[in-house]
């Protein structure tokens, strides 16, 4: 009898995992099964640009199974729960799957229902929009088109969220969009965050602080939302501050999949507690969580999933052989940030090193400048869609190492740390 590896979730992380492990594992010894509720793979980085007319919905979707290797089993079904004590996955259709090893890669999902008033029928996707879902992004495109002016609020409900810089990018892109439509003076843009500022790391605060000022984007920090009054279209915070809006672009509370909660495998946001260096569940020796589904303190982003899986693949082979896992992940993330007007920035960082200035991937010649606006970084972001579909998902080689490198980076000096005192 072959042993069974089951992968739950056929998104960015799940698809990369089956492609990598299909090559690594002996097919005489291991069978691989992947489960997802539908057959539509969404190119999620496109959701940020779709509302501004860069992409159509159809350009962001492909069939999931097109990216799975031949020789693995694909089950299209909704997951009911996992019983980790009996190594069993229960599907909503009544079927059960028994595993030897389980990889959970079911991501994170926005939950507008977690904030009172947010999903009221009167306002939800009429004047309050999310953009991390395809229906949300499509509805928002229409709303931006029709917007005649007023207060546009860009808002984060609570950390952690998928792609943590996307709301900031949205604010920059909105500034450029309304400028291009020659109506910027009719739009007040307000950026509302539960954190202490748009930037919270010393070098970013110093280097990028100008970006909001220059674009006349107002900042409302430390805003922890309590509820939305749908009658008056006002956000109210825990300390009773009020922000009225004409158009609210919000990132609702993000949570891991519901079945993780039902299975007792998650924390209070349904993320699976794992060892942050090797993604093994802190409770079960044959369950791993990859991508956005885990509780690792890294950005919930495709680049993190990609680097993490490079390390995981090596670790998993060691784990199956009963050896200690030696390929420790460092939390490496590498993200292009859109800043509007055909420009972008690039950040490269990990668990312990904050985003720094410099050139990437090579010192001096780059070609991509770090933490600096440039056209090339924007081109990098656009080119990434091709890389994603053609190389990344299929587990092909990409010339960026899984672990972060200090090459080309300018060390932060004491003076560069600005930041404010806790009482400010």
């Amino acid at each position: 009898m072959r042993k069974k590896l089951i992968v739950l979730g056929g998104g960015t992380a799940g698809t990369m995992v089956v492609n990598k492990l299909h090559k690594k594992l002996d097919s005489q010894e291991w069978s691989i099964t992947i489960v997802d509720k539908d057959n539509k793979h969404l190119y999620q980085p496109g959701l940020l640009l779709l509302p501004f007319g860069v992409y159509e919905a159809g350009e962001l979707l492909k069939e999931r199974d097109h990216f799975f290797p031949k020789g693995i089993e694909y089950i299209q079904a909704e997951i009911d729960k996992v019983d980790a004590d009996s190594n069993t996955v229960y599907l909503v259709n009544g079927k059960t799957l028994v595993y030897d090893q389980l990889v959970i890669a079911t991501g994170t999902t926005p939950h507008p229902d977690q904030t009172m008033g947010m999903d009221d029928a009167e306002i939800w996707r009429k004047s309050v929009f999310d953009f991390y879902t395809l229906p949300g992004a499509v509805a928002l495109k229409d709303a931006l088109n029709r917007f005649e002016g007023g207060r546009l609020v860009v808002h984060i409900s609570e950390m952690p969220i998928k792609c943590p810089v996307a709301p900031l990018e949205f604010a920059f892109l909105a500034d450029a969009y309304f400028t291009q439509r020659k109506m910027r003076e009719k739009v007040e843009i307000v950026y509302v965050t539960p954190l202490e500022g748009a930037f919270t790391k010393p070098v970013c605060s110093k280097q990028l602080g100008y970006m909001l000022v220059e674009r006349d984007i107002k900042l409302e920090p430390d805003f922890v939302i309590e509820h939305i009054d749908s009658q008056t279209k006002t956000m109210v915070s825990m300390d009773e501050r009020e922000i009225p809006f004409d158009l609210l672009v919000t990132v609702p509370v993000n949570m891991g999949a519901d079945f993780i909660g039902r299975s007792g495998l998650g924390n209070d946001l349904n993320y699976i507690p794992v060892n942050k260096e090797n993604f093994l569940s802190t409770k079960y020796p044959n369950i791993f969580a990859l991508g956005d589904a885990s509780d690792i303190p890294a950005s919930k982003a495709g680049s993190v999933a990609h680097f993490a899986i490079d390390m995981f693949t090596e670790n998993f082979v060691e784990h199956l052989a009963g050896r200690p896992m030696t390929h420790n992940f460092d939390g490496h993330a590498n993200c292009f940030i859109e800043s509007g007007d055909g420009k972008g920035l690039l950040i490269d960082f990990n668990y312990t090193v904050e985003p720094l200035m410099g050139m990437f991937p090579l010192p001096v010649v780059g070609p991509f400048p770090l933490l600096k606006e440039s056209r090339l970084n924007h081109m990098g972001k656009l080119a990434f869609r091709w890389i994603y579909w053609n190389l990344l998902l299929k587990g092909r080689w990409i010339p960026i190492p899984a672990l972060m490198s200090m090459a080309g980076k300018k060390q932060a000096t004491q003076k560069e740390g600005v930041g404010s005192h806790a009482s400010n």
């Binding site: 810089v165 954190l195 300390d239 209070d268 950040i347």
Partner: protein
């Protein structure tokens, strides 16, 4: 990173004055840090600070406001009353733990 003296003890802090070494913290230092940001420590304050200290030891991360509510038992609204305006940052500061951060 600078070393400064708080409550008669040299401690390592970062550029914002947050302690960088878990074991250098004690209650005397916490009281002094609280005073600097104009917070008078009561039993309710200590309950949260002690929860944060214990939770960090097992989790390796500063608990979020949500976690202080669901696991520590102090509602977010009350955290705003006890540590006005910036509860998450102030709680971390007094507890000698890293502040909540985004990725940039």
């Amino acid at each position: 990173m600078p070393v400064i003296e708080i409550a008669g003890k040299p401690v390592n802090v970062n550029e914002e004055g947050f302690l960088t070494s878990y074991d250098e913290w004690n209650e005397e230092i916490a009281r002094e840090l609280a005073k600097q940001i104009e917070i008078e420590m009561t039993d309710e304050h200590w309950k949260i600070i002690k929860f944060l200290r214990d939770d960090f030891k097992t989790q390796g991360e500063t608990a979020t406001s949500r976690r202080v509510q669901t696991v520590g038992g102090v509602p977010v609204k009350e955290q705003f009353v006890l540590f006005p305006k910036k509860p998450a940052k102030k709680m971390a500061y007094i507890a000698g733990l890293p502040k909540p951060k985004g990725c940039v």
